[in-house]
Protein backbone atom coordinates (compact mmCIF):
# COMPACT_ATOMS: atom_id res chain seq x y z
CA UNK A 1 0.00 0.00 0.00
CA UNK A 2 2.83 2.37 0.85
CA UNK A 3 3.93 2.56 -2.79
CA UNK A 4 0.41 2.80 -4.21
CA UNK A 5 -0.44 5.63 -1.86
CA UNK A 6 2.77 7.45 -2.67
CA UNK A 7 2.01 7.12 -6.38
CA UNK A 8 -1.43 8.60 -5.83
CA UNK A 9 -0.04 11.48 -3.80
CA UNK A 10 2.51 12.24 -6.50
CA UNK A 11 -0.26 12.53 -9.07
CA UNK A 12 -2.43 14.77 -6.89
CA UNK A 13 0.46 17.06 -5.98
CA UNK A 14 1.86 17.32 -9.50
CA UNK A 15 -1.56 18.07 -10.89
CA UNK A 16 -1.84 20.84 -8.36
CA UNK A 17 -4.97 19.51 -6.65
CA UNK A 18 -3.40 19.33 -3.20
CA UNK A 19 -0.77 21.27 -1.33
CA UNK A 20 1.58 18.72 0.27
CA UNK A 21 2.12 21.06 3.23
CA UNK A 22 -1.64 21.12 3.77
CA UNK A 23 -1.56 17.32 4.02
CA UNK A 24 1.10 17.55 6.73
CA UNK A 25 -0.95 20.05 8.70
CA UNK A 26 -4.10 17.93 8.42
CA UNK A 27 -2.23 14.94 9.81
CA UNK A 28 -0.55 16.95 12.56
CA UNK A 29 -3.91 18.39 13.60
CA UNK A 30 -5.75 15.12 13.97
CA UNK A 31 -2.86 13.06 15.24
CA UNK A 32 -1.62 15.47 17.89
CA UNK A 33 -3.87 18.47 18.45
CA UNK A 34 -7.52 17.45 18.40
CA UNK A 35 -8.46 14.58 20.68
CA UNK A 36 -10.61 13.36 23.57
CA UNK A 37 -9.00 15.79 26.01
CA UNK A 38 -11.26 18.38 24.41
CA UNK A 39 -14.36 16.35 25.21
CA UNK A 40 -13.06 15.75 28.72
CA UNK A 41 -12.95 19.54 29.27
CA UNK A 42 -16.57 19.77 28.17
CA UNK A 43 -17.67 17.00 30.52
CA UNK A 44 -15.66 18.30 33.46
CA UNK A 45 -17.17 21.74 33.03
CA UNK A 46 -20.67 20.26 32.87
CA UNK A 47 -19.99 18.36 36.09
CA UNK A 48 -18.76 21.50 37.82
CA UNK A 49 -21.11 24.15 36.51
CA UNK A 50 -24.87 23.46 36.53
CA UNK A 51 -25.61 26.36 34.18
CA UNK A 52 -23.09 25.06 31.66
CA UNK A 53 -24.49 21.55 32.03
CA UNK A 54 -27.96 22.83 31.20
CA UNK A 55 -26.65 24.80 28.23
CA UNK A 56 -24.85 21.68 26.98
CA UNK A 57 -28.05 19.66 27.15
CA UNK A 58 -30.11 22.42 25.52
CA UNK A 59 -27.67 23.52 22.81
CA UNK A 60 -24.56 21.37 22.72
CA UNK A 61 -23.19 22.96 19.55
CA UNK A 62 -23.06 26.42 21.17
CA UNK A 63 -21.95 25.21 24.59
CA UNK A 64 -19.08 23.22 23.08
CA UNK A 65 -18.14 26.04 20.71
CA UNK A 66 -17.82 28.37 23.71
CA UNK A 67 -14.77 26.31 24.72
CA UNK A 68 -13.31 26.66 21.24
CA UNK A 69 -14.21 23.24 19.86
CA UNK A 70 -15.95 23.67 16.53
CA UNK A 71 -15.87 22.61 12.94
CA UNK A 72 -15.52 19.56 10.81
CA UNK A 73 -17.57 16.58 11.99
CA UNK A 74 -18.88 18.57 14.94
CA UNK A 75 -21.07 21.11 13.18
CA UNK A 76 -24.27 19.88 14.83
CA UNK A 77 -23.73 18.50 18.33
CA UNK A 78 -26.07 16.84 20.81
CA UNK A 79 -25.12 15.81 24.34
CA UNK A 80 -26.68 12.65 25.78
CA UNK A 81 -26.95 12.58 29.53
CA UNK A 82 -26.37 9.31 31.33
CA UNK A 83 -28.48 8.90 34.45
CA UNK A 84 -28.93 6.18 37.05
CA UNK A 85 -31.75 4.88 34.82
CA UNK A 86 -30.39 5.37 31.30
CA UNK A 87 -27.06 4.52 29.68
CA UNK A 88 -26.38 5.96 26.23
CA UNK A 89 -24.09 4.43 23.61
CA UNK A 90 -23.15 5.98 20.27
CA UNK A 91 -22.36 4.16 17.03
CA UNK A 92 -22.33 4.76 13.29
CA UNK A 93 -23.52 1.53 11.70
CA UNK A 94 -23.15 2.88 8.15
CA UNK A 95 -19.64 4.33 8.28
CA UNK A 96 -17.64 5.98 11.05
CA UNK A 97 -19.38 9.24 11.99
CA UNK A 98 -17.81 10.58 15.18
CA UNK A 99 -17.55 14.02 16.82
CA UNK A 100 -14.02 15.00 15.73
CA UNK A 101 -13.70 18.40 17.47
CA UNK A 102 -14.34 16.89 20.91
CA UNK A 103 -13.03 13.33 20.52
CA UNK A 104 -10.56 13.46 17.63
CA UNK A 105 -10.46 10.70 15.05
CA UNK A 106 -12.34 7.53 15.97
CA UNK A 107 -10.43 4.58 17.39
CA UNK A 108 -9.98 1.51 15.22
CA UNK A 109 -12.63 -0.55 17.01
CA UNK A 110 -15.26 2.17 16.54
CA UNK A 111 -14.89 1.88 12.75
CA UNK A 112 -14.73 -1.90 12.71
CA UNK A 113 -17.44 -4.39 11.82
CA UNK A 114 -17.73 -6.07 15.25
CA UNK A 115 -18.68 -2.80 16.98
CA UNK A 116 -20.79 -1.31 14.18
CA UNK A 117 -22.80 -4.50 13.78
CA UNK A 118 -23.46 -5.23 17.43
CA UNK A 119 -23.85 -1.91 19.22
CA UNK A 120 -27.42 -1.46 17.97
CA UNK A 121 -28.61 -4.95 18.93
CA UNK A 122 -26.48 -5.92 21.93
CA UNK A 123 -25.08 -2.84 23.66
CA UNK A 124 -24.91 -4.64 26.99
CA UNK A 125 -22.76 -7.36 25.46
CA UNK A 126 -20.58 -4.69 23.86
CA UNK A 127 -20.07 -2.90 27.16
CA UNK A 128 -19.18 -6.21 28.79
CA UNK A 129 -16.39 -6.65 26.24
CA UNK A 130 -15.02 -3.33 27.40
CA UNK A 131 -15.02 -4.69 30.94
CA UNK A 132 -18.12 -3.00 32.33
CA UNK A 133 -21.40 -4.40 33.56
CA UNK A 134 -24.35 -2.19 34.44
CA UNK A 135 -27.34 -3.08 36.62
CA UNK A 136 -29.97 -5.17 34.83
CA UNK A 137 -32.66 -2.54 35.36
CA UNK A 138 -30.65 0.15 33.58
CA UNK A 139 -32.00 1.07 30.17
CA UNK A 140 -29.59 0.96 27.23
CA UNK A 141 -30.30 3.63 24.63
CA UNK A 142 -28.26 3.41 21.43
CA UNK A 143 -27.75 6.33 19.01
CA UNK A 144 -26.95 5.51 15.39
CA UNK A 145 -25.25 8.54 13.77
CA UNK A 146 -26.91 8.36 10.36
CA UNK A 147 -26.98 12.13 9.64
CA UNK A 148 -24.59 15.02 10.31
CA UNK A 149 -25.68 15.24 13.94
CA UNK A 150 -22.85 14.15 16.21
CA UNK A 151 -23.39 12.77 19.69
CA UNK A 152 -21.36 13.17 22.86
CA UNK A 153 -22.25 11.13 25.92
CA UNK A 154 -22.24 13.08 29.17
CA UNK A 155 -21.31 10.38 31.68
CA UNK A 156 -22.39 10.49 35.30
CA UNK A 157 -19.99 12.20 37.65
CA UNK A 158 -18.24 9.50 39.65
CA UNK A 159 -18.82 9.31 43.39
CA UNK A 160 -16.16 10.63 45.72
CA UNK A 161 -15.26 13.57 43.52
CA UNK A 162 -16.70 16.39 45.61
CA UNK A 163 -14.41 19.36 45.70
CA UNK A 164 -12.25 18.26 42.76
CA UNK A 165 -11.24 21.02 40.38
CA UNK A 166 -12.32 21.00 36.75
CA UNK A 167 -8.79 20.01 35.77
CA UNK A 168 -8.82 17.06 38.15
CA UNK A 169 -12.28 16.02 36.98
CA UNK A 170 -11.18 16.13 33.35
CA UNK A 171 -8.50 13.58 34.19
CA UNK A 172 -11.23 11.12 35.14
CA UNK A 173 -13.09 11.44 31.84
CA UNK A 174 -12.10 8.70 29.42
CA UNK A 175 -12.72 8.79 25.70
CA UNK A 176 -14.83 5.64 25.91
CA UNK A 177 -17.03 7.15 28.62
CA UNK A 178 -18.01 9.85 26.10
CA UNK A 179 -18.93 7.19 23.49
CA UNK A 180 -20.81 5.09 26.02
CA UNK A 181 -18.51 2.07 25.83
CA UNK A 182 -16.95 2.90 29.17
CA UNK A 183 -17.39 4.76 32.43
CA UNK A 184 -15.28 7.56 33.88
CA UNK A 185 -12.47 6.64 36.19
CA UNK A 186 -13.05 7.04 39.90
CA UNK A 187 -10.42 8.61 42.16
CA UNK A 188 -9.96 5.23 43.86
CA UNK A 189 -10.84 2.82 41.09
CA UNK A 190 -13.39 0.23 41.98
CA UNK A 191 -15.82 -1.42 39.63
CA UNK A 192 -19.20 -2.61 40.65
CA UNK A 193 -20.30 -5.91 39.23
CA UNK A 194 -23.91 -6.92 39.39
Amino acid sequence: MELRVRALETVLVEKGYVDPKALDILIETYEHKVGPRNGARVVAKAWSDPAYRQWLLDDATAAIASLGYTGRQGEHMIALENTPAVHNMVVCTLCSCYPWPVLGLPPVWYKSAPYRSRAVIDPRGVLREFGFELPAEMEFRVWDSTAEIRYLVLPMRPPGTDGLSEDDLAELVTRDSMIGTGLPKTPEPKRELT
Binding site: E2, E9, K21, L94, I121, P123, E129, D144, T146
Partner: protein, 223 residues
Protein backbone atom coordinates in the same frame (compact mmCIF):
# COMPACT_ATOMS: atom_id res chain seq x y z
CA UNK B 1 -27.66 0.78 -1.31
CA UNK B 2 -27.82 -2.56 0.42
CA UNK B 3 -24.04 -2.76 0.56
CA UNK B 4 -21.59 -4.17 3.06
CA UNK B 5 -21.41 -0.83 4.87
CA UNK B 6 -24.88 -1.39 6.34
CA UNK B 7 -23.70 -3.49 9.27
CA UNK B 8 -26.27 -2.86 11.99
CA UNK B 9 -27.54 -6.11 13.46
CA UNK B 10 -25.18 -8.41 11.60
CA UNK B 11 -23.59 -11.15 13.65
CA UNK B 12 -20.48 -13.32 13.74
CA UNK B 13 -17.88 -10.60 13.19
CA UNK B 14 -16.27 -11.75 16.40
CA UNK B 15 -15.17 -9.85 19.47
CA UNK B 16 -14.40 -6.15 19.63
CA UNK B 17 -10.76 -5.43 20.33
CA UNK B 18 -10.70 -2.25 22.42
CA UNK B 19 -7.00 -2.70 23.03
CA UNK B 20 -6.19 -2.42 19.33
CA UNK B 21 -6.12 1.33 19.32
CA UNK B 22 -2.68 2.04 20.67
CA UNK B 23 -2.40 4.33 17.67
CA UNK B 24 -4.94 5.89 15.35
CA UNK B 25 -2.79 4.77 12.44
CA UNK B 26 -1.03 1.50 11.69
CA UNK B 27 1.23 2.79 8.97
CA UNK B 28 2.29 6.09 7.54
CA UNK B 29 0.32 5.58 4.32
CA UNK B 30 -2.90 5.63 6.36
CA UNK B 31 -2.10 9.18 7.48
CA UNK B 32 -1.57 10.22 3.86
CA UNK B 33 -4.84 8.63 2.74
CA UNK B 34 -6.75 10.46 5.47
CA UNK B 35 -5.15 13.79 4.55
CA UNK B 36 -5.55 13.33 0.79
CA UNK B 37 -9.22 12.44 1.23
CA UNK B 38 -9.82 15.58 3.32
CA UNK B 39 -7.83 17.82 1.00
CA UNK B 40 -9.50 16.47 -2.14
CA UNK B 41 -12.88 16.88 -0.48
CA UNK B 42 -12.02 20.56 -0.09
CA UNK B 43 -11.56 21.00 -3.85
CA UNK B 44 -15.33 21.07 -4.23
CA UNK B 45 -15.36 18.47 -7.00
CA UNK B 46 -17.58 16.25 -4.86
CA UNK B 47 -19.29 16.33 -1.48
CA UNK B 48 -19.22 14.20 1.67
CA UNK B 49 -22.20 12.17 0.49
CA UNK B 50 -20.58 11.35 -2.86
CA UNK B 51 -17.53 10.36 -0.92
CA UNK B 52 -19.44 8.00 1.40
CA UNK B 53 -21.28 6.54 -1.59
CA UNK B 54 -17.98 5.83 -3.36
CA UNK B 55 -16.71 3.87 -0.38
CA UNK B 56 -19.85 1.89 0.34
CA UNK B 57 -20.39 0.82 -3.27
CA UNK B 58 -17.28 -1.33 -3.17
CA UNK B 59 -18.21 -4.99 -3.73
CA UNK B 60 -19.19 -6.43 -0.32
CA UNK B 61 -16.46 -9.07 -0.28
CA UNK B 62 -13.86 -6.39 -0.92
CA UNK B 63 -15.37 -3.95 1.58
CA UNK B 64 -15.43 -6.49 4.39
CA UNK B 65 -11.90 -7.74 3.76
CA UNK B 66 -10.36 -4.28 3.48
CA UNK B 67 -9.00 -2.18 6.30
CA UNK B 68 -10.61 1.17 6.95
CA UNK B 69 -8.03 3.24 5.10
CA UNK B 70 -7.86 0.76 2.24
CA UNK B 71 -11.56 1.48 1.77
CA UNK B 72 -10.84 5.21 1.84
CA UNK B 73 -8.05 4.75 -0.72
CA UNK B 74 -10.35 2.83 -3.07
CA UNK B 75 -13.10 5.40 -2.58
CA UNK B 76 -10.77 8.29 -3.39
CA UNK B 77 -9.50 6.53 -6.52
CA UNK B 78 -13.04 5.93 -7.67
CA UNK B 79 -13.90 9.62 -7.26
CA UNK B 80 -10.79 10.73 -9.16
CA UNK B 81 -11.67 8.45 -12.05
CA UNK B 82 -15.35 9.35 -12.15
CA UNK B 83 -14.60 13.09 -12.16
CA UNK B 84 -11.81 12.70 -14.71
CA UNK B 85 -9.26 14.32 -12.39
CA UNK B 86 -6.85 11.45 -12.99
CA UNK B 87 -6.69 8.23 -14.98
CA UNK B 88 -6.21 4.71 -13.67
CA UNK B 89 -2.91 4.56 -15.52
CA UNK B 90 -1.66 7.71 -13.82
CA UNK B 91 -2.70 6.53 -10.36
CA UNK B 92 -1.04 3.18 -10.94
CA UNK B 93 2.22 4.64 -12.25
CA UNK B 94 2.41 7.79 -10.16
CA UNK B 95 3.13 9.76 -13.31
CA UNK B 96 1.17 12.36 -15.20
CA UNK B 97 -0.04 11.40 -18.65
CA UNK B 98 -2.49 14.23 -19.05
CA UNK B 99 -2.77 17.83 -18.04
CA UNK B 100 -4.64 18.60 -14.83
CA UNK B 101 -8.36 19.34 -14.97
CA UNK B 102 -9.44 22.51 -13.25
CA UNK B 103 -10.73 22.20 -9.68
CA UNK B 104 -12.81 24.92 -7.99
CA UNK B 105 -10.47 25.29 -5.02
CA UNK B 106 -7.18 24.04 -3.66
CA UNK B 107 -6.78 23.87 0.10
CA UNK B 108 -3.49 25.60 0.88
CA UNK B 109 -1.54 24.92 4.06
CA UNK B 110 -2.28 28.30 5.61
CA UNK B 111 -6.01 27.82 5.11
CA UNK B 112 -6.24 24.46 6.87
CA UNK B 113 -6.85 25.54 10.49
CA UNK B 114 -9.65 27.95 9.57
CA UNK B 115 -11.23 25.45 7.18
CA UNK B 116 -11.32 22.77 9.86
CA UNK B 117 -12.75 25.11 12.49
CA UNK B 118 -15.41 26.23 10.03
CA UNK B 119 -16.38 22.71 8.97
CA UNK B 120 -19.27 22.19 6.61
CA UNK B 121 -22.62 22.62 8.30
CA UNK B 122 -25.37 20.52 6.71
CA UNK B 123 -28.35 22.61 7.85
CA UNK B 124 -30.12 24.87 5.37
CA UNK B 125 -32.88 27.47 5.69
CA UNK B 126 -36.27 25.79 5.90
CA UNK B 127 -38.39 26.16 2.80
CA UNK B 128 -41.34 24.12 4.03
CA UNK B 129 -43.14 23.48 7.27
CA UNK B 130 -42.24 20.29 9.12
CA UNK B 131 -44.61 17.43 8.37
CA UNK B 132 -44.04 15.78 11.75
CA UNK B 133 -43.87 16.99 15.33
CA UNK B 134 -42.02 15.75 18.33
CA UNK B 135 -44.15 13.02 19.87
CA UNK B 136 -45.61 11.78 16.58
CA UNK B 137 -45.63 8.05 15.91
CA UNK B 138 -44.13 7.42 12.49
CA UNK B 139 -43.20 4.48 10.34
CA UNK B 140 -40.06 4.32 8.24
CA UNK B 141 -40.56 3.53 4.59
CA UNK B 142 -39.88 0.10 3.24
CA UNK B 143 -37.33 0.89 0.54
CA UNK B 144 -34.25 -0.55 -1.10
CA UNK B 145 -32.69 2.07 -3.37
CA UNK B 146 -29.67 0.86 -5.33
CA UNK B 147 -28.10 4.28 -4.74
CA UNK B 148 -26.94 6.02 -1.56
CA UNK B 149 -29.26 6.22 1.43
CA UNK B 150 -28.77 6.79 5.14
CA UNK B 151 -31.70 4.72 6.35
CA UNK B 152 -30.17 1.47 7.62
CA UNK B 153 -31.88 -1.79 6.67
CA UNK B 154 -32.56 -2.75 10.26
CA UNK B 155 -34.95 0.16 10.73
CA UNK B 156 -36.89 0.17 7.47
CA UNK B 157 -40.61 -0.40 7.72
CA UNK B 158 -40.48 0.10 11.50
CA UNK B 159 -42.53 2.20 13.86
CA UNK B 160 -40.97 4.74 16.15
CA UNK B 161 -41.55 8.06 17.82
CA UNK B 162 -40.13 11.42 16.82
CA UNK B 163 -38.06 12.73 19.71
CA UNK B 164 -36.37 15.70 18.03
CA UNK B 165 -36.70 17.90 14.96
CA UNK B 166 -33.41 19.39 13.73
CA UNK B 167 -34.54 21.77 11.00
CA UNK B 168 -33.77 21.11 7.36
CA UNK B 169 -30.57 19.36 6.37
CA UNK B 170 -28.93 18.42 3.07
CA UNK B 171 -30.50 15.20 1.79
CA UNK B 172 -27.70 12.66 1.22
CA UNK B 173 -29.74 10.40 -1.06
CA UNK B 174 -29.85 13.09 -3.78
CA UNK B 175 -26.67 14.94 -2.89
CA UNK B 176 -24.61 11.77 -3.36
CA UNK B 177 -25.71 11.21 -6.93
CA UNK B 178 -25.55 14.68 -8.43
CA UNK B 179 -29.19 15.59 -7.90
CA UNK B 180 -28.43 18.45 -5.55
CA UNK B 181 -28.87 19.11 -1.86
CA UNK B 182 -32.69 19.09 -1.82
CA UNK B 183 -32.77 19.87 1.93
CA UNK B 184 -35.43 18.16 4.02
CA UNK B 185 -36.52 18.20 7.63
CA UNK B 186 -34.39 15.93 9.75
CA UNK B 187 -35.74 14.16 12.82
CA UNK B 188 -34.48 11.81 15.46
CA UNK B 189 -36.73 8.78 15.71
CA UNK B 190 -36.62 6.50 18.72
CA UNK B 191 -37.45 2.88 18.01
CA UNK B 192 -38.33 0.47 20.75
CA UNK B 193 -35.63 -2.19 20.45
CA UNK B 194 -38.29 -4.91 20.48
CA UNK B 195 -39.77 -3.38 17.31
CA UNK B 196 -36.41 -3.83 15.59
CA UNK B 197 -35.14 -7.08 17.00
CA UNK B 198 -37.91 -8.85 18.87
CA UNK B 199 -36.60 -10.34 22.08
CA UNK B 200 -33.08 -10.81 20.72
CA UNK B 201 -31.62 -7.57 22.03
CA UNK B 202 -30.17 -6.01 25.14
CA UNK B 203 -31.02 -2.49 24.00
CA UNK B 204 -34.13 -0.72 25.25
CA UNK B 205 -34.29 1.62 22.30
CA UNK B 206 -32.33 2.72 19.24
CA UNK B 207 -32.42 6.33 18.04
CA UNK B 208 -31.82 7.03 14.37
CA UNK B 209 -31.66 10.35 12.51
CA UNK B 210 -34.19 10.18 9.66
CA UNK B 211 -34.95 12.64 6.87
CA UNK B 212 -38.60 13.45 6.32
CA UNK B 213 -38.98 11.41 3.13
CA UNK B 214 -37.87 8.30 5.01
CA UNK B 215 -40.96 8.62 7.18
CA UNK B 216 -44.68 8.28 6.96
CA UNK B 217 -47.58 8.00 9.35
CA UNK B 218 -48.25 4.35 10.13
CA UNK B 219 -50.89 2.77 7.91
CA UNK B 220 -54.27 2.94 9.45
CA UNK B 221 -55.46 -0.58 10.09
CA UNK B 222 -55.67 -3.31 12.67
CA UNK B 223 -52.61 -3.43 14.87
Amino acid sequence: MNGAQDLGGMQAFGPIHPEDDVSLFHADWERRVLAMTLAMGATGKWNIDTSRAARESLPPAQYLSSSYYEIWFEGLKKLLLSTGLATAEEIEAGELKRAASPVPRVLMADQVPAALLRGGPADRPATAAARFEVGDIVQTRQMHPSTHTRLPRYCRGKRGRIIAAHGTHVFPDTNAIGLGEQPQWLYTVRFDAFELWGADTTAASVCVDCWESYLDYPNAGPD
